[in-house]
Symmetry: C2
Subunit: 438 residues, 2 copies
């Protein structure tokens, strides 16, 4: 196909006419499709229904160490769950706290604790004139809105193919004591699907932060969420890397089973150094007597061990692979060669990011919405919802049924073409006027 930029004004006008006709056909379909949130689909949820059977009134709800899971106690989680989640997170069980149903809540609590009580005897962040966080972009909207809620200033750091721009991260972190943290989704990142290179992870572990209480917020949300069994991304384990580099306390690592079993009814966890754990437990013991141990036991009994969990994730992959493929196919078929955008091709996770021509993201999403397809709001993958190029679009292919998704991906491609053609037409008209005026 010909690059839109190379078309003449006439050709572009003609193309646009055709595209608008097609768009109207879509509008008549009265679609109501949602590619906005990273929600598992019904078939994925069905995979975990067995979890509802492993505990029943004839089953002993006692741990190996004799703990009755039904009663109060066990602040940091039952041992069996720590072992399972330790294997999942690639951390020693002793470095883990099992929380409630939401890793987002764990991150929130971690920020709230740092704000109110400080990190390991350092000044509480709420007592400082200002606190700043580095935010690799595009990134996870909920990280950013939570950070904004706490009044923390966000500094965007561009992502490249290896992860965040580490030259920039190293420079900023070593120079500015007010920078207290960085948000990382290191594997199959939300929203690009990119995975940090080994080199990037090592550079993270070797940071020299000006702030003693600087922490990497390592949200390994998609650690075992591969799409392919053969093509799996790999990252070095960050706690171990940091320990080797002499920075043992620099990381809070988060994960959950939200996209493994049931979102909202999974178990979340934090892995970190012993020093950080002591610091955290001092607060946690004020906050709760313990999290839901019955649900921890339910997860352990359902999976048995990490191998059971891996086999389970393959079933997720079997459902998700065709969906990701359908979006990739539609984008490839409709947009290849037009030079109106690029997109990521992740090996796992929940998202594809589409990079439109500058200034086109909002319009594309608006167009899609008008024809019944909801995308994540433009700008939401940037701090303060401000994408300076108005370019990044997060595509979430997991939730809609495959057939709906195919239609949605077609419509999305069409909207990209329309908005891009309009933009180029406008530019050409503008250039022509400018030439005339000369």
């Amino acid at each position: 196909m010909e690059r839109y930029a190379d078309m003449s004004v006439e050709e572009l006008k003609k193309e646009l006419e055709e595209l608008e006709k097609e768009y109207r056909r879509f509008q008549k379909m009265d679609l109501k499709l949602d590619m906005s949130r990273g929600k598992p689909c019904t078939e994925q949820l069905d995979l975990s229904m067995g979890m509802m059977d492993v505990l029943n009134s004839h089953v002993d709800l006692t741990c190996d160490d004799g703990t009755d899971c039904r009663n109060y106690g066990v602040l940091s989680g039952i041992e069996e769950a720590k072992e399972l989640i330790g294997d999942m997170m690639e951390n020693h069980p002793d470095n883990i706290i099992i929380y409630g149903n939401s890793s987002l809540n764990v991150m929130y609590d971690t920020l709230a604790r740092a704000m109110l009580s400080g990190v390991m005897d350092n000044t509480p962040w709420c007592k400082l004139e200002k606190v700043k966080f580095l935010c690799p972009v595009p990134g996870y909207d909920r990280h950013f809105s939570m950070t904004e809620y706490f009044g923390i200033e966000m500094i965007p750091v561009p992502m490249n193919e290896e992860g965040p721009d580490m030259d920039m991260v190293e420079k900023l972190v070593s120079e500015d004591e007010l920078i207290k943290g960085i948000w990382c989704v290191p594997k199959y990142a939300n929203p690009s699907g990119a995975t940090y290179s080994e080199h990037t992870v090592r550079r993270f572990a070797r940071l020299h932060p000006a702030a003693k209480d600087f922490r990497i917020f390592w949200d390994n949300a998609y650690g075992i969420h591969h799409l392919y069994d053969e093509h799996q991304d790999y990252i070095p384990e960050i706690l171990a890397e940091c320990k080797r580099a002499g920075n043992p306390d620099m990381v809070y690592k988060f994960a959950s089973t939200s996209k493994i079993t049931f979102p909202g009814s999974g178990i979340a966890a934090l892995a970190t150094s012993q020093n950080n754990l002591v610091d955290i437990k001092r607060q946690l013991s004020q906050q709760t007597i313990g999290h839901d141990k019955v649900n921890q036991l339910r997860h352990v009994r359902f999976f048995g061990d990490i191998h059971g969990m891996v086999l389970h994730m393959k079933k997720h992959a079997d459902i998700l692979r065709p969906k990701f493929q359908a979006v990739q196919d539609a984008l490839e078929r409709n947009l290849s060669g037009l030079d109106v955008g690029t997109w990521t091709k992740p090996n796992g996770g929940y998202f594809i990011t589409f990079f439109a021509l500058d200034g086109c993201a909002k319009k594309i999403i608006k167009r899609a919405k008008k024809a019944g397809v909801t995308m994540t709001e433009a700008g939401s993958t940037w701090p303060y919802h401000k994408d300076p190029h108005d370019r990044d679009i997060r595509i979430a292919p997991t939730y809609p049924p495959l057939e709906d998704l195919k239609v949605a991906a077609e419509l999305f491609s069409l909207c990209v073409k329309i908005v891009s053609a309009e933009k180029l037409l406008e530019e050409k008209a503008h250039a022509a006027t400018a030439a005339e005026e000369k």
Copy 2:
């Protein structure tokens, strides 16, 4: 029995000799009993095993409104759960947020939010030079330690038979703008088992706090935890009372099913005014996507409705009544007439409070411990663990098996007698010396 105070020195010495003999008999029994925490016993937990059966892989996990409980979403809880918990808390479902497994966690979050973000657009408490809370004493140790953790100054307010000393509460609250809250366990209070009178509740609703962001932290932990079907304590519903009194936003009310189904795997809730709810949800939406809806549904399906829950609570009462009775019997049999202490006789809840002679609580608890019976640490029912009279002892009769409890109550009574006799002997010796010196 004769009052110890009326005994001669010789009589007291002889009594003490006999008591010590008996104490040594207990020591030889090598007891390991725990009357320290308000934990349900195994038989109580067994009552809720049916909760493990109501959901299974053949059951539809969808709400009446079509919400798939397995997936993300529904910030404030599923409607069915709000109705059930609304009936339990005597509040409209629309005034309720269902949280995770722990009302303690809800209280913590409520304090943390007030500290960091303030209450309804007032200055965040962490920005104030000082924040104070009123703490009716004796009270719940976890309330106090949490308050201390947040650096909030605690002012003890004595409890009398009608609840906290309301003259003092009214005066302090109306005069001091730094007083931002008061902890209340209005029904079958932890640890006295006392219930606020209707008059007290009405006076609470009619407070005129100097601080606009003053809130009553109304921990109705034992709202339906009656010991008797016929003798049930009653308190007016505080939200409604406050609304009628023109103070609609003055209360945060907390409850959970921790001592109804499984502690640690129940559901917790907060009830409050619409204005407060808007304020809270602004923060809650940053903290989580939603709490465990499957567990909410599990509770709804298990109980059916509030009548099911009430019938369930009667079974709890049947287990707990003999335990409370055993403690009452032992105290009555062993201590009546000796004038060495008084104790409460609650109609519900989880605790009895024993008021020893001044300066005796620590010693009694130490004595009991030395013979293998663990009581709640002395002083823990007071802010900063400082019981100025060293007098209050919390007895938690629920957890030990009945036979163990009987032994523990005997031993406890014995320890009371020993420590009281020692105290009186010392006083008499001191008085004699003083008389001689004269």
